[in-house]
Symmetry: C2
Subunit: 157 residues, 2 copies
DNA sequence: TTTAGATCAAGAACTATTCTAAAAAAGGAT
DNA sequence: ATCCTTTTTTAGAATAGTTCTTGATCTAAA
């Protein structure tokens, strides 16, 4: 809940209005946001968010989930993650990070920057260009799947 | 045409069969590939490739363009580039590189690696993970658009 | 309480892409 | 060359994810 703030308007007392970056935090938006925070943190798609959100609020609609995901993304509360042409996924991790998709177990992992590194470090950017947004996605095998491929046994934890 | 080779089978003489990585180079595939090589190198979408291909071969169909782009991608002759949820774009540059999308002029630029750098350099990959594929896309303003924004004048070339 | 604007819900519409089925083309063997 | 098999092409239908539309509901402020 770290990214939610009470609105501190001085002339009115607020009712429902938790806001994030000027965005009114409605019941539905909160449910959607909570799904991303609460559950397995597995970068769910809109439909997956929808199903989980229905658990908390049975009347919520898919269109609303899309709306909420969009407004949360625009306000900067969450990030939209695209891999190839697959359905977009959503992620509440606001730190700069990359995404690793394991082609075996199909899970998504957040990859952090090395300390003191920036994502643009290895790239020869033309002078004068201004990078506003950067997305890095990797495909491959996660350590667990690399292990189990090696002999099909090796489950040490 | 650097990536096309004549098939060197020793028992048969070949007719149409230029191949790339085992892929038969049919008329249509060649047209599609040539569109990517010949023209403005602007990372066109499938529909744009289709229009340009029709210029060279009026009977070609959109489905075939999709087929060709897919087989060329799988054979490794070209790369598919995805940015957000927009239509896929295609690119014949096989060197490791990132893509920069200018939000002003909407053009796409290839960004090369700094010498001796690799794309994974800044990332803290868990030990044992195997990266098979890496995609880096940036959004922002290209040098030209940064310039012209600064004063709306500055056209020095 | 009224009002104006924001948000929600349900379903239709849209778009890029993939699938299907039949026709055409290509390659190999006779 | 001719037959046979496999690959490729074509055109249109189908699909999936997402966006749009419309009317209803909610909210904050007056």
């Amino acid at each position: 809940m770290a990214y939610l703030k009470k609105e501190m308007s001085n002339s009115t007392q607020n009712t429902q209005a938790d806001v994030f970056g000027g965005l009114r935090m409605t019941k539905q938006r909160k449910v959607v946001y909570d799904v991303l925070l609460d559950e397995t943190r597995d970068h769910p798609t809109a439909s997956q968010v929808f199903v989980r959100a229905q658990g908390k609020m049975p009347t919520i609609s898919l269109a609303t989930v899309y709306n909420c995901l969009e407004s949360l993304t625009h306000s900067g509360a969450i990030k939209q993650v695209n891999v190839d042409r697959e359905a977009s996924r959503y992620c509440p991790n606001l730190q700069p990070h990359a995404h690793f998709f394991c082609s075996d177990c199909e899970e998504v992992f957040d990859i952090d920057l090395k300390s003191r590194a920036t994502a643009t470090t290895p790239w020869q950017l033309p002078e004068g260009s201004e990078v506003e947004q950067l997305e890095v996605t990797m495909r491959g095998k996660c350590p667990t799947c690399t292990d189990s491929t090696r002999e099909d046994s090796g489950s040490e934890n």
